[in-house]
Symmetry: C2
Subunit: 233 residues, 2 copies
DNA sequence: GCTAGTGATCTGTGATCACAGTTTGAGTGA
DNA sequence: TCACTCAAACTGTGATCACAGATCACTAGC
């Protein structure tokens, strides 16, 4: 027998299927706002673009449909759901409630290491937002990183997964808007709320952390709704 | 042109794909506890049992895997995830937080019609639980109906979907236990909490409704954990 | 000039086949 | 009686084909 000890240290290489890869590619497209609400998606075209057969794309799309990130129209066409203003408001309210709760738990349970990670993420976002020529794409990613640094510290894995799904669903609307109006993210709205959240988490003040996160989400949602890009309920 | 008025009244016939049907069939199996944690699932056997090719089953399974209700083992075998006691506790805590919140919203926003529906659901469950020879399967379904009557009235569709997913994930563990020990559901634990929730919703007392739901979930989880059927973390 | 119809081309859905990797169990050896 | 071997049967994954229905550009008829 060969050295079991040495072999045990080999990292378990994850066998990614083509479907997994396709899923990530599509999810990225959606999260980045490259696929706008109402856009149609063709299995064959996507497959050709990814250089695979339709099978893996089919599986990826069926997962995204299950998540509500894509939908099959009554005509069987696959498209990005067109959210009404009412839908978007309900999604934002759900996020405020759930993400606020996660932030509160983090504030109460956080370790020093958690706090340090959150501090780093906050600083990274701040640096990008306050730089002379902020990179939009980068800022979006850093904003996401900060939020999930907070949620990751809440200690409840299922809660984190739930939030990730909600973000995926809100992604197209939020980031499409951001592409059109990059000024929002970089004008201090978010910065203030992030700072408040950080202070609350430092002070182990759950309710304050929840309030800061909820305000962050509400302000972004209100901004998008005020722009009137969404269809009425 | 033919009579547009008459045509408008035709019910939009929903085109269910075989994959949809397969998904429901498998989800039912899981929710009913017929598929226990650790059990393997073969695509071809399932397809044969459903009388279709593997394609629709594949799609259904890929959705369930995305939901975390099934998993693909490193050997590529599909099976029901074996939840550790730690996992189960985290899931229960997440449910307590989210479902409690939904119940609180319902208490605050409910209409008279909502309240009537919840009352009916509570009475139906009570009748079954207090009957001389309660039907286990029926009781499980009525319990679920009651919970979702409460969540449906919270006014937030995305929140409801989140909860449905959490139930699907917890289903195998909970209902497997219930199959083995039917006495739990029928010994008044749940009945008391349901009554408390109903009173709180009637009184528009959000916090009390949240507490009642959380207690209901916690007690069921504690009972299962105390039985020691789950693997240690 | 405008509408109804028509056919080519696209769509997603489902079945079937091919393949590489895994599991299993019977057979063989000590 | 036990451990090992090896082949047959199974596993999920991916590609390909078949099909019914939806689109869309275009033309015939009014």
């Amino acid at each position: 027998m060969t050295s079991t000890l040495a072999l045990a240290e080999l990292p378990q290489l994850d066998r990614r299927t083509l479907a997994d890869t396709a899923y990530e590619a599509l999810a990225d497209l959606l999260a980045a706002g490259r696929l706008a609400p109402g856009d149609r998606l063709s299995l064959r075209q996507s497959a050709a673009a990814l250089g695979v057969s339709v099978m893996p794309v089919r599986e990826a799309v069926s997962r995204l449909v299950a998540d509500g990130v894509l939908e099959v129209a009554p005509t069987r066409a696959i498209r990005v759901p067109i959210m009404t203003a009412r839908d978007f408001r309900a999604l934002a309210e759900t996020r405020m409630a759930i993400e606020g709760m996660a932030a509160a738990r983090t504030a109460e349970h956080r370790s020093k290491a958690d706090l340090a990670a959150i501090r780093r993420a906050e600083a990274a976002f701040r640096a990008e937002a306050e730089s002379a020529e902020p990179d939009r794409t980068r800022a979006v990613r850093l904003n996401r990183d900060l939020h999930f640094a907070i949620y990751a510290a809440c200690g409840l894995a299922p809660l984190q997964e739930v939030i990730a799904r909600l973000w995926l669903k809100a992604g197209p609307v939020i980031n499409l808007d951001l592409r059109a109006h990059p000024e929002r993210l970089l004008q201090g709205f978010a910065l203030r709320r992030h700072a408040e959240a950080l202070v609350a988490i430092e002070a182990r003040d759950g309710p304050a952390a929840a309030a800061a996160l909820a305000a962050d989400i509400r302000e972004a949602a209100d901004f998008i709704l005020s722009r009137g890009g969404l269809r009425d309920a």
